[in-house]
Symmetry: C2
Subunit: 203 residues, 2 copies
């Protein structure tokens, strides 16, 4: 990750911007899905994908026939966003309603990971990021399965984080209105695990 240039610099609400690795890593490490965008013949595409951060890169995977992976593995410019929604900000005025969030927008390029051991390792990182501990219990990928998976590494050249947190900011003139104001926190909740219908008895 290098210094920032015009493309990653926050123009609006620059006080909400962060460019340090620690903040950027923390936001990336808390997400499971990123939005990958690229442009083909002037037509932009944006696709949600599972990912794991590995150093200054993101590991992405899919079918060898994936149009997305084939396109970005050519080394074209790619932009990736990861966003966490943290709360609804309810103000006394509709104008000051807002959302609390944390997001990272990263710019870079992708390259295919083709060496089988490197692919295997990247897939382990991906599984462990999404479902920590599963590689110790689930059957590891066979050579054929690794072969049947395309893996690319998106190398972050520059990135910025943006966030909003805390209560609404209303105009002084509105503070006396009889309107409830505050934040409704939002977070991703894990429900009770649902066993597969064909789960072997006793497992």
């Amino acid at each position: 990750m290098s210094n920032r240039t015009n493309r990653s610099e926050l123009k609006r609400h620059s006080e909400r911007g962060h460019y340090d690795r620690e903040t950027i890593y923390r936001i990336l490490d808390q997400g499971m899905i990123c939005h990958v965008s690229f442009s083909l013949d002037g037509q932009p595409y944006v696709i949600p994908m599972a990912y794991a951060r590995s150093g200054d890169g993101l590991i992405l995977h899919g079918s060898p026939h994936s149009r997305l992976l084939q396109s970005i593995a050519d080394g074209i410019p790619v932009c990736v966003a990861v966003t966490h929604l943290d709360g609804l900000v309810l103000a006394r005025s509709t104008f000051h309603h807002s959302l609390n969030f944390r997001s990272v927008v990263a710019f870079g390029r992708a390259r295919p990971i083709t060496r089988p051991e490197e692919k295997q390792q990247a897939l382990v990182e991906l599984t462990e990021h999404l479902a920590p501990g599963r590689c110790a219990v689930a059957r590891a990928a066979t050579d054929a399965e690794v072969k049947a998976t395309s893996v690319v590494r998106f190398e972050i050249e520059e990135a910025s984080a943006k966030s909003r947190s805390g209560p609404p900011k209303d105009n002084p003139a509105d503070m006396q209105l009889e309107v409830w104001a505050g934040v409704v926190p939002l977070r991703i909740e894990r429900g009770e695990p649902v066993p597969a219908p064909d789960l072997k008895a006793g497992v």
Copy 2:
């Protein structure tokens, strides 16, 4: 929304694809943040934004100085994605681990909404989508506030929905492994509302 063309047609897992308005609307209506992508001089950008669906379009807003809004309001091609993460799919093999999700990818163009009454109406739709009922209690936007907001409408030309649901699909040979398999449901949970620290007593 017109018929689908090559850009919106699902190439992989086409059985997970949907192109009907009802499915697409339902996914869009359950989201609060979309990822808006566009390309400037071959450089793709993707930015998270609050939105509301209105007919076959999405209402987006921001500062009149927003680089994003200025760029897309020029009528360049835009692609927008909305994604809901529904579950972690834990299989007996690492290869068959997956995520349950619903997503929409929409292609189209944006145009600025400039007439004050139309802008005011679009902002009401946006607030009501994100925080239903708030327009009845919070102070309405003044003319100056409406003026200080840029609003664009992204018109969907074509869109596709994609989803995965249900249990893991393992190989028959793996069904006897002593590995727990199933789904950990994920959903966005609303926490206890946190009143603003300067909330007027008694509200």
